[in-house]
Amino acid sequence: MPQIKALDGNWAVAEGVRLAGPKVVAAYPITPQTPIVERVADFIADGSLPGARYIAVESEHSALSAVVGAALVGTRVFTATAGAGLALMHEVVGVASGNRLPIVMAVANRALPSPWSLQVDHSDSMAERDMGWIQLYAENCQEALDLVLLGYRLAEEVRLPVMLCLDGFYVSHSTEVVSVPDAKEVAAFLPAYEPGPVCLDPDCPLTINQLTSAGTFTEIKYQHKQALDQALELLPYLGEEFGTHFGRPYAPIQAENCAGADVVLVSLGSSAGTARQVAKELREKGQQVGTLKVTSFRPFPKQAVQTALKDAKSVAVIDRSWGLGSEGPLSLEVKAALYTLPKRPLVTSYVAGLGGRDLSSDTLSKVVETTMELKSQGRSEFEPIWIDVKEGEVD
């Protein structure tokens, strides 16, 4: 029987980790992620994660390196980080995915410096978006737990690492009612760990990760690309299967009321819940507002996004990251996904909710209003709109 508990996002992730049963965990504290690894350390200390070991490393760089090492000798592993910690890991992020290691890493999203911020935006995980990991974004605490389990299953099926992103504080530190699955049910969904072919084993010596020539690098990266394609194909089925076990199906995207909508709000993470509420209230007032939540940002479900948005009149994409020098990454993806349509909806890109600023229902209502106004003029805005910027706030 599942248990109903009041958990914040961090503890929800930790519960997911307890149920998944990694054997090696290595991590370094950083706000807002720290309670995840403290909780996991407790689970290891009190025997709730039998046979597991916690490596209290001296940096995030070493945290990811240590779990890569542990994965290379055939164990299920876990780590977590945020913001600057993820940036410090960057070089090893590519090693983890390039060696096809099914690591699960939680990222409690936090804005990258500078200026320093303790709070959420997606600049940390978005900076890693093309590094060959699967990236899943949780909307709430329940999703944070569920996506750990779904993440391990997917990672191990396609041999790729998974970055599970949860918004710092808005998810990581918000307490919600969470259904914690039954261990037996989890075992039925997530089989015991099977070491993959990339394994350091004296009985079968392999050299792993050595220099490659221009003659093979492309082909190895192409296989990596194919693995991400495979992940995208598999995710809807695994998401359905998750639903049959736990009653909560998952899909790469969640689209509601998009066909024929005057405006569709496209977003990632916790703001997707706010967008749904805003859309609901506006629909009750007679406005045609739909929502599209992207759960899998990598691989990006291009086709599904195109299909969901093709009959919308206009689209507002909300990026909780800077997109400096261009526009936000989510917006670029959505525009690219729509490009091949003969008749495309109008798309306007918005930047909002940076460095912990609340991506409130007021902000999202303003996004809808602005997009409607543009639509009435038969156009979209070419440049991104920083919708919640305050005039005169900084000299």
Partner: protein
């Protein structure tokens, strides 16, 4: 592995290191002592030549090419995962250059030692970044030419051995490619240490130090005989000099036969000599105490 392959050397023949490469020699001896139940890691460096290119590898043991700065952290994860699986008969070895050890890799190394993880860290010291074309490292000695110290290095060699001793480590040793039996004995000893091991081996490099390849062993011996690179080990804090030198040879003999010291100043040679003398006396005094 079958009995037939076990007789083959664990590093294959025909490795494309330079003629007279002491690093390769040290790699061979290390695996000869440790045997096939060894997982070896190399960072970007000359030792990565053994790890190979494309479809070719020089290792007959499992090997992983690490990053330059985190080899010790990979070793931590590998060791803990082996322990979790009850695989207690496997050696985990980092085989890294001086740059990957005393400079960019110092944090990860210090962390892994502090965590008391069981692994054998062998730093082969060719006193510069050789693989990238002879640039200065923290381990480059005073007065030595490199491509980034065109007028000779103005600072002294970083004393990583003293730093790690200060940190505390169950087994630590210096070694030289000129005294292979001494090195072999130290690796033998490392096998049974239940915790981190650090062995720092001086490996002269004909290419970067500018001497004829046939001189590798002589130069490696001279470094010891001049007192510039004394051989000792520290077991659980107790120091023992493993090669006593009655009278230290003049440092001039050592620098004269290497092109990298062509423009060294007389006062730098005097400084090196004074430093060598002082270090040797300190080691003797400490050994006496112990």
């Amino acid at each position: 592995m079958g009995a037939a392959t076990e007789k083959l050397p664990l590093i294959s023949c025909g490795i494309t290191t330079c003629e007279g490469c002491a690093m390769e020699l040290i790699g061979r001896v290390t695996l000869d002592v440790l045997g096939p139940k060894t997982i070896i890691l190399t960072p970007p460096s000359c030792s990565a030549i053994i790890t190979g290119y494309g479809r070719e590898t020089g290792w007959r043991v499992p090997a992983f090419q690490s990053n330059l700065e985190n080899i010790a952290a990979y070793c931590s994860g590998i060791r803990v995962a082996l322990e979790v699986q009850g695989k207690d008969d496997v050696h985990v070895v980092a085989f890294a250059g001086d740059g990957g050890t005393v400079d960019i890799g110092l944090q990860a190394l210090s962390g892994a030692i502090e965590r008391e993880h069981k692994f054998i860290y062998i730093c082969y010291d060719n006193e510069a970044y050789m693989n990238t074309g002879i640039q200065r490292s923290g381990a480059t000695p005073l007065g030595a030419w490199t491509t980034t110290t065109p007028a000779g290095k103005k600072e002294s060699k970083k004393d990583i051995v003293a730093m790690l001793r200060a940190q505390g480590i169950p087994y630590l040793a210096t070694a030289s490619a000129g005294y292979i039996d001494d090195f072999r004995r130290k690796v033998e000893r490392a096998k049974d240490v239940d915790g981190p091991v650090y062995i720092h081996v001086l490996t002269p490099c004909a290419t970067g130090w500018r001497f004829p390849p046939k001189e590798t062993v002589n130069i490696a011996r001279m470094a010891v005989d001049t007192g510039l690179w004394p051989l000792y080990e520290v077991v659980d804090g107790r120091l023992k000099i493993t090669r006593k030198v009655k009278t230290l040879k003049p440092v001039t003999d050592y620098v004269q036969c290497q092109g990298r010291f062509r423009s060294i100043f007389a006062d730098q040679i005097a400084q090196l000599e004074k430093g060598a003398e002082k270090l040797y006396q300190e080691l003797l005094a400490e050994e006496e105490k112990a």
